[in-house]
């Protein structure tokens, strides 16, 4: 079980699933994406956060 659906939780869930495990991704909000989804662009490459 991965608790939290931000960038960290999503990556952990993907890697665990790709390694062969059944994963529950638990998020308290209405959508995954976390704080990163609120960012415009990201350093140091300035590519789009979304």
């Amino acid at each position: 079980m991965v608790v939290g659906g931000g960038i960290a939780g999503m990556q952990a869930a993907l890697d665990a699933a790709d390694s062969g495990y059944y994963v529950y991704l638990v998020e308290r909000g209405t959508s995954i994406g976390g704080i990163m989804s609120q960012l415009d662009k990201t350093f140091p490459t300035n590519d789009c956060a979304l």
């Binding site: 939290g4 960290a8 062969g20 959508s31 704080i35 609120q38 960012l39 350093f43 300035n46």
Partner: protein
């Protein structure tokens, strides 16, 4: 909401009468009581804000239920308790940004033009409250001057604030300042008010230099007194500059660079689970096992562990996922569901029946391009059997609807006119596959990034262009043929280059997940640079730990160590590498499926600098560590010691920060103080970069009497032996005076440097950056993968980093390797080059030009001497196709007739 029924049409929100402050957009605009957080949210389903809904609070209204076309509104929905049985848990509960209203010295509550950095992100965002138009909140006027105030809520032990450094704010402020300048139509003045600029991450120092030198962002070392708003919304900033002068300056917007912290909910959660946390609420982890919490089976990653940026979070996440899996090896693949791919429809002999799906992308495309018109137009194109539009063609429900239409209308080719294939092609290919169509019978037209986004001022022309792009895609897709993807088995063993801590940690993590590895080390012992380290920043005994690790590796039958081994040759590719090693003249070929590069870096030897090598009192940081390890008795005899930071780092030759040296010097200064409390210890620095929780150590050192002096790097410093003394001359930036010190011990905090020559990188086709460190495939999304499939990186070979971060990265690399190895087979892309031997003139250009060694000469049979291409090695780059003088090579999926059909379609008039 009934999530299965909601189709995210948005009618409910349109009719909802209740307006609510939109926290997602930093409170800068309103949303409705029924809402989606943002247009691209996953899952894209509306939710009712229970506290705000008029019906749920007062029993009146009910508009949303009336208009919902699918009956998805369930007012009496109840909270349900679920019990999940799981083998391990990964905590990724994240952080919250500091609320500057807690202790409001910067006028955050008094002026709308004082915003947090997260609110400013929304102001900059194209999907934000002002549509990406940079204006100040009070009067929507374009600003001329913006200030960023650093360390708001960080590095501060005042009410409500926290003592640690939040690690990310310096770099994000630089980013926001650069982006603000790009957004602004008029020249914009941007100033960052700081204590230390901490751009310690990989490539962040270059970013800082770019912000300062190319973008012209001003950096002002200062202490802020306060911010005074006036009646017109302008903000008077009062501060004390580096030399102690009081200064006042007016700004249009003041951005508070708020720090990261653990929120009340995450705190309660860790408490409920019994996870040990530090005083700030961050989960405690052992330095040598950085993702393990105090509770067995529970792992942690991201900002719940410490304040950190996105790349570090992603690395930790991979490490935590691997650690979580290592206890469950026997259950691998036992609970997972396999997606049944339906039988592929044989379309041979069928005329093309093309389906065209045009995406509105919310308002991203539809607000500029007349989507219904494009749909109508698409219906008139040759072979088009179906055309429709959708709100978000990438959403789950649209995908299902698309698959249904493909089956019902017996479509055999699909075009999606939407966004970029770079991010969305795999998704649509999966959908067409699920409908029984070969995934290569698909084409995308990018009518967003290449049309609506760039032509938003000229809507009519944009619509015409969307038609052009769609017509071109239709012309190409009609000629596409199904392609096969060769499937290969994967050798389940790994080869790890380098037997330092990173390499050993990778091998141990792989072993814990059931995989064997070869650990190849060029020297005669394991341990690498860690053999020179005294203590970690949080006090861990490095020697004891390295010793333990070496024993673990030796005892592990899944790890085969090769010492004194040099890699001389590499053949093969992902899944099936063949690496030749040379051990004192003896050759051995090792077969392996993946490669992890953990080859390290070393300490810069400052020959000729600062009297190093000429005076025995001058040491490097590691030389001091070795003396501390050995218990050197001359150290307590020193009456004074001095550290000089950034020796060989952050200069023209090496424009990067070596990340570890500030904390290392603080740690060593404290160690010297412990040996002799009355010793005068001084640190000459440019910016102290004790990022994250290391800031506490910096505070401890200051309290212990270690003197930190920012020296003027423009003036430089001079170290001269004078008689018995060692004289260090420098200019103190605070006192603005020339000073001289005569320490008994001078420690140079020297750079971390990659090897001057790195043939292994070339052998594995891994790229190095300008500084000589390995480059990752994607800084944020694939931080431990190399661009070459099946090759991973970790430790100092990737960038300077402390021991704990090397171990995390090593565990992450192991996890990423496992995601490949666990699949047992791998499918290669079908879009590869193919030769027609009959047309080949055997010139050998393709053999010479291919960066992946895919072409070779046929050795037997009628076409001996002609070129052939190994489809498994081919990456489909097309270099050989373009350079073949005989036109004997074609790239599947990008054949001449297909490309020409697409190009010629451009010249046809829109009807």
């Amino acid at each position: 909401m009934d999530l299965d029924k909601c189709i995210a049409c948005g009618l409910c929100a349109e009719k909802c009468p209740k307006k609510v402050v939109d926290t997602y957009n930093g409170g800068l605009q309103k949303r409705k009581a029924i809402y989606v957080r943002y247009a691209q949210a996953v899952p894209l389903k509306y939710a009712i804000d229970q506290e705000q809904c008029i019906y749920l609070q007062k029993g009146k209204c009910g508009n949303c239920a009336k208009v919902c076309p699918t009956g998805a509104i369930v007012y009496d929905d109840k909270e349900k308790e679920l019990i999940l049985n799981v083998g391990s848990v990964v905590m990724a509960a994240g952080c919250e940004t500091y609320d500057p209203a807690t202790h409001d010295v910067y006028g955050y509550q008094r002026s709308p033009n004082v915003v947090t950095s997260l609110e400013f992100e929304r102001i900059l965002s194209a999907s934000g409250p002002y549509g990406g138009h940079l204006v100040r909140p009070s009067d929507k006027k374009e600003p001329k001057k913006i200030a960023w105030l650093q360390c708001v809520g960080s590095r501060d032990v005042h009410i409500g604030a926290r003592g640690y450094c939040s690690s990310v704010c310096c770099t994000y402020a630089i980013k926001e300042a650069m982006l603000a300048k790009e957004h602004s139509h008029e020249p914009l003045d941007t100033a960052i008010f700081y204590m230390d600029i901490r751009t310690h991450g990989k490539d962040f120092e270059r970013y800082y230099n770019r912000g300062r030198d190319a973008s012209g962002v001003r950096f002002v070392k200062s202490r802020i007194t306060n911010v005074v708003p006036d009646a017109d919304g302008n903000l008077l900033l009062r501060y004390v500059d580096a030399s102690g002068r009081r200064v006042e300056e007016a700004f249009d917007i003041v951005v508070l660079s708020v720090g990261l912290g653990i929120g009340a909910e995450a705190r309660a959660l860790t408490q409920r689970l019994g996870i040990a946390v530090d005083a700030y609420g961050f989960a405690r982890t052992p330095g040598f096992d950085p993702v393990r919490t105090s509770v067995p089976g529970i792992y942690v990653c991201g900002a719940l562990e410490a304040p950190m940026d996105i790349p570090s979070s992603v690395v930790e996440s991979s490490a935590a996922a691997g650690a979580a899996g290592s206890g469950l090896v026997e259950a691998r693949w036992s609970r997972t569901l396999t997606k049944e791919a339906p039988l592929e429809t044989d379309i041979r002999g069928e005329a093309p029946r093309i389906g065209v799906f045009i995406c509105r992308c919310g308002t991203n495309i539809a607000s500029v391009v007349d989507v219904p018109q494009v749909v109508e137009y698409a219906r008139t194109l040759p072979y088009v059997a179906h055309a429709e539009e959708s709100m978000f063609s990438c959403s789950q429900d649209t995908q299902e609807a698309m698959a249904k239409v493909i089956r019902e209308k017996r479509l055999n080719r699909v075009v999606v006119s939407a966004c970029t294939p770079k991010t969305h092609e795999p998704l649509f290919q999966e959908t067409v596959t699920s409908a029984g169509i070969n995934k290569y019978l698909f084409e995308m037209a990018n009518i967003r990034n290449q049309c609506s986004w760039v032509h938003n001022q000229t809507k009519e022309e944009a619509t015409t262009k969307a038609k052009d792009l769609t017509r071109m895609a239709v012309a190409k897709v009609a000629l596409l043929q199904p392609l096969e993807e060769p499937e290969l088995s994967i050798d389940p063993r790994a080869l790890i280059v380098g037997g330092g801590v990173a390499g050993m940690a990778t091998a141990l993590a792989l072993s814990a997940q059931g995989y064997e590895s070869y650990l190849v080390e060029q020297t005669d012992r394991l341990g690498g640079q860690a053999l020179n380290l005294h203590r970690t920043w949080d006090g861990g005994d490095v020697q004891a730990h390295v010793h333990e690790m070496v024993q673990q590796v030796a005892a592990d039958h899944k790890i085969e160590v090769r010492l004194n081994a040099r890699i001389t040759h590499v053949d093969g590719f992902v899944g099936n590498f063949k690496t030749t090693i040379d051990r004192q003249g003896e050759q051995e070929v090792l077969d392996h499926g993946v490669t992890v590069i953990a080859s390290g870096a070393s300490e810069f030897k400052p020959e000729g600098l600062h009297a190093y090598g000429r005076d025995p009192r001058v040491l490097t940081a590691l030389e001091l560590d070795r003396r501390l390890i050995a218990g050197d008795e001359t150290l307590p005899a020193c009456k004074s010691a001095m550290f000089i930071q950034c020796v060989g780092s952050r200069n023209e030759t090496r424009p990067y920060c070596s990340k570890v040296c500030c904390t290392h010097s603080i740690k060593s200064a404290l160690a010297l103080k412990a040996l002799r409390p009355e010793m005068d210890v001084m640190v000459l620095y440019r910016d102290m970069r004790s990022y994250g929780l290391r800031e506490d150590l910096y505070r401890e050192a200051r309290q212990a009497g270690v003197v930190f002096i920012k020296y003027d790097e423009a003036v430089g410093l001079e170290v001269q032996p004078e008689g018995e003394d060692l004289a260090v001359r420098f200019t103190d930036t605070a006192l603005r005076r020339k000073m001289v010190a005569r320490p008994d011990l001078l420690v140079l905090a020297t750079a971390i440097v990659p090897p001057a020559d790195n043939p292994v990188a070339q052998m594995y086709k891994a790229t190095l950056n300008d500084d000589g460190f390995y480059m990752e495939a994607h800084v944020k999304l694939r931080p431990v993968d190399c661009a070459t499939d099946g090759v991973f990186i970790c430790g100092l070979a990737h960038a300077p980093k402390p021991l704990d971060e090397s171990i995390t990265q090593a565990q992450a690399a192991a996890t990423r390797a496992v995601t490949l190895l666990a699949k047992q087979t791998i499918r290669m892309a079908g879009t590869v080059a193919e030769t027609r031997p009959a047309d080949c003139s055997a010139c050998g250009v393709c053999v010479a030009i291919c960066p992946y060694s895919a072409p070779s000469f046929i050795e037997k049979g009628p076409f001996t001497g002609k070129a052939q291409i190994n489809p498994v090695l081919c990456k489909g780059c097309g270099l050989c196709v373009a350079s073949c003088r005989s036109g004997a090579i074609r790239l599947k999926g990008f054949d001449n007739d297909q490309i020409f059909a697409q190009i010629f379609a451009l010249n046809e008039e829109v009807g």
